[in-house]
């Protein structure tokens, strides 16, 4: 039988992502295939002040839960303010982007995807 696992997620070394389309993003895969997850993957993204995820769409969904900070989410053509207390459902194939609305404070959220997504 697989073992259960307790993870101290802040101790995970983040993947730091800065490209033309992604700015100031620290990505931690908290529960993924290494832990035995077969169906969906739980990640935490920490976005530096002024940073953002790519503006894109893909054939899988996101389930997002804001942990802290002041952000914005682009859902199609709607740009919506989000902060602690908000969750976001991004359906498959909808263009979306997550942005830190602050210049100085971090914006942090959970993003769950099906296995095989990114």
């Amino acid at each position: 039988m697989k073992e259960g696992k307790v993870i101290k997620w802040r101790d995970i070394d983040p993947e730091i992502i800065n490209t033309q389309e992604i700015k100031g993003v620290h990505k931690r895969v908290v529960i993924g295939e290494n832990e035995g997850a077969q169906n969906f993957i739980l990640r935490v993204f920490t976005v530096a002040g002024g940073g953002h995820s790519p503006k894109h769409s893909h054939p899988w969904e996101h389930e997002v839960f804001v942990l802290r900070g002041e952000g914005q989410v682009l859902l199609g053509e709607d740009l919506i303010n989000i902060s602690e207390g908000h969750a976001v459902f991004v359906p498959e194939n909808l263009e979306h982007q997550f942005l830190n609305a602050s210049k100085n404070e971090e914006f942090e959220f959970i993003c769950v995807i099906p296995k095989g997504g990114m």
Copy 2:
């Protein structure tokens, strides 16, 4: 195309569960089939002081992320203290239980399951 959705999850009326096996549990389905989720469901559980989820196992996994409070998780025969900063992977078919370790303070966590689980 499905629409994206921003959810103020604390505004969701919780299902309040008190049975022989479950004590002091408030359950909110934050992102589920009503939002268009096809593959996995994101719920938040708020457990009153001294409360707990059932001790059970089932053929689907849990991906858990602690939001606040002082809790314990039973994973097979191991009882482990958990609090903010911890995530827990419960594999399929492993006996488990979540308990609030405090008598007075709430213990709150996210629990993601595949569609069709509970």
